[in-house]
């Protein structure tokens, strides 16, 4: 019986865990919406509420500014904007939520990318008075590129347009025109007022023409998994446990390959191939803290023991035999450039993919995406917040799957070794 199956039933909320982010243009009400969600779901404790009531009063506001719940940095509170992602947590008894409140400012798009990379669902806010803006498109495109399976478009500030259905319908058709062009499939629309709380947890009385679910109901109903694919087993090795020096002679030959299952699952007895060596063996045992498990599933951290002695180190990957990923030194990818210094085609960068690092050089920029027109344009170099299709040449091979089949083995980051900064996010095609 696995560690999972053995848990007492009350520890398994039937709906598991859902990570979502709020995004969209500046001042569309993302932080206010999260504040409202926490407030109406009774997650905010009394002292926190008193603290933001005091801050609101100090700022001369006559209502409680719920955005102060997530805008926690001094600079954010001074300017009334979000600069970096804030993470908040709440639970409904059946599901635990991790919320990421992303900034709307274009300058901080890279922080939105950080928030989007781990999300299962995106709430894209639109100010009902302003409709679809460039930043709405940019965030929608990023959410789509990063493979977020569920997108909810929330038309906010309905109170400022007299809760008019025409406004909502017009924004919906504008959005769909652009989303269809991108191939965004699962989009749902909802009108709301984050400030007054309509259609968030409570339906309110001012949107009688809308008969869909509240935002809260949408969250509770969203499936918390990344994909429907029959996933292939991928196990990047993070660390090798060799306790030879232990006083226990039984451990003398112990070799545990430690890591987290990035996708698929593995059972004791399965035939596996180790990359890059290509050597094959069988899974002898799967362990966590001395306990043997019959199998390990996606996102589970375990140690794998093999029947044969094979030399394996960090950066290698264990996969099921017959289900090999692409092994290669040339990759095609979509890239979000996140650094203030432009991508320099003459320089070498470090590419990090799963637990493996390789030097990398840009081979070509196929095109840059113009966010306004969604047109592909030629480009010589990439600036901060640019999104482009590129190819890289690597010094070491990597073991990759297309990102849209497997996030874990399709994603990479680029590190600039002169600063150690993370400068780009890449998705293998």
């Amino acid at each position: 019986m696995s560690a999972i199956e053995k848990l007492p039933a009350e520890d398994i909320p039937d709906n598991g865990l859902l990570r979502f982010l709020t995004c969209g243009s500046v001042d569309d009400g993302k932080s206010t919406l999260i504040g409202r969600l926490l407030y109406d779901s009774k997650t905010i404790l009394a002292d926190t509420l008193h603290a933001i009531q005091r801050s609101s009063a100090r700022r001369g506001l006559d209502i409680v500014d719920l955005s102060l719940l997530t805008d926690g940095l001094q600079a954010e509170r001074e300017q009334g904007i979000t600069i970096d992602v804030a993470y908040r947590y709440f639970t409904t008894g059946t599901r635990k939520y991790i919320i990421a409140d992303a900034p709307g400012h274009e300058q901080y798009t890279r922080n939105m990318v950080t928030a989007a990379s781990t999300a299962d669902l995106a709430i894209i806010l639109i100010d009902a008075r302003k409709g679809v803006l460039t930043q709405t498109r940019r965030h929608s495109y990023v959410a789509h590129l990063l493979g977020i399976p569920h997108i909810v478009v929330a038309v906010n500030k309905m109170d400022l347009v007299d809760y008019a259905q025409e406004t909502f319908d017009r924004i919906r058709s504008d959005y769909l025109a652009f989303a269809n062009g991108l191939g965004i499939a699962d989009v749902r629309f909802i009108p709301l007022s984050a400030l007054h709380g309509d259609m968030i947890v409570e339906r309110g009385e001012r949107l009688p023409w809308y008969d869909g679910p509240t935002l809260f109901e949408m969250l509770e109903g969203a499936p918390a998994i990344h994909s429907e694919h029959d996933e292939k087993f991928r196990f990047p090795v993070q660390y090798v446990c060799r306790p030879q020096d232990s006083a226990n002679p039984e451990l003398h030959d112990y070799r545990g390959f430690m890591g987290r299952v990035e996708s698929g699952e593995v059972h004791v007895g399965d035939r596996v191939t180790v990359l890059p060596s290509g050597l094959e063996s069988r899974v002898r045992d799967i362990q966590v803290l001395g306990e043997s498990l019959p199998r390990a599933v996606a996102e589970q951290s375990v140690s794998i023991l093999l029947e044969d002695e094979i030399d394996i180190s960090r950066g290698d990957m264990i996969v099921r035999s017959g289900e090999l990923p692409q092994v290669g030194k040339n990759i095609d990818a979509m890239l979000c450039w996140l650094s203030e210094s432009p991508l320099d085609p003459r320089r070498k960068y470090l590419l990090r993919h799963t637990t493996r690092d390789s030097k990398a050089m840009l081979a070509a920029i196929a095109f840059r995406v113009d966010i306004n027109s969604m047109q592909q344009q030629p480009a010589e170099r990439l600036l901060m917040n640019d999104i482009a299709r590129v190819s890289f040449r690597l010094a070491q091979p990597i073991f990759a799957d297309p990102y849209n089949e497997s996030r874990g083995t399709g994603a990479f980051i680029i590190i600039d070794e002169s600063t150690n900064n993370t400068v780009a996010a890449g998705m293998i095609l």
Partner: protein, 306 residues
Amino acid sequence: MSIAKLARVTLSHLDWLESEAIHIMREVAGQCGNPVLLFSGGKDSICMLRVAEKAFRPGRFPFPLLHIDTGHNYREVTDFRDRRAAELGERLIVRSVEDSMARGTVVLKSADEPRNKHQSVTLLEAIEEFGFDACIGGARRDEEKARAKERIFSFRDEFGQWDPKNQRPELWDLYNARSFKGENIRVFPISNWTEIDVWQYIEREKLALPSIYFAHRRPIVRRGGGLLPVTEVTPARPGEAVETLQVRFRTVGDITCTAPVESDAEDVASIIAETAVTTITERGATRLDDQTSEASMEQRKKEGYF
């Protein structure tokens, strides 16, 4: 599209959080040359030790444990700290704020000034002494609004400073622990855990805790709306009435700035029940040092705090 149709074996939320934390610790082990794990004997760091066992056994931990002792810790907690490290057979390093005071690198404004924020100095001194390139800490994002903004792998410059306006992007689970000599990475494996997750984990894993986490009787004065324990370093002020109350601690830090709450909870299950219906946050109830200004945690982090 029904959920049932999409169902596959997924992890419960506690399993998911644990697995994420194990993955993070193994990344530290794989990427950093000389990491250390901060262990105070408090509940969050007790959970971290459990995660470290799951991450590295049957091997040894690839890092020593470090405690920055203010000299104002409850005996129950420091005894527990020493006992736990010995049981695990792992190396424990203790560096003390009082030594920094003796060296003159920590200067208190007054003898009774809380020493909590001065831990930053002693921590930075320990980092330099041992050349640590990464410090694994038990901070959680639900604790405080500045922590809610921090990356899991959080870069600190050579002065130990956090720059909240210029954090590295952190994408997927591809963490970047790189730093140059003298710089440092703070790593928070239980960033995504909440107070109730911590208690549920303690219950599930049957983890031992210092006794002061459970209801016990203790002399108390009421001051500024809170309960203050009466101890050698925090005596009652003239005119204050000392009562003996049934209390427990929600967090165990420096004696001078950690307050208990009234409670009858004698076991973890009762604590979970109380936590589920509490109306006050962990820090709000118990950390006297955070309430001084709207931005005190952010300020301390900029100065090198955990």
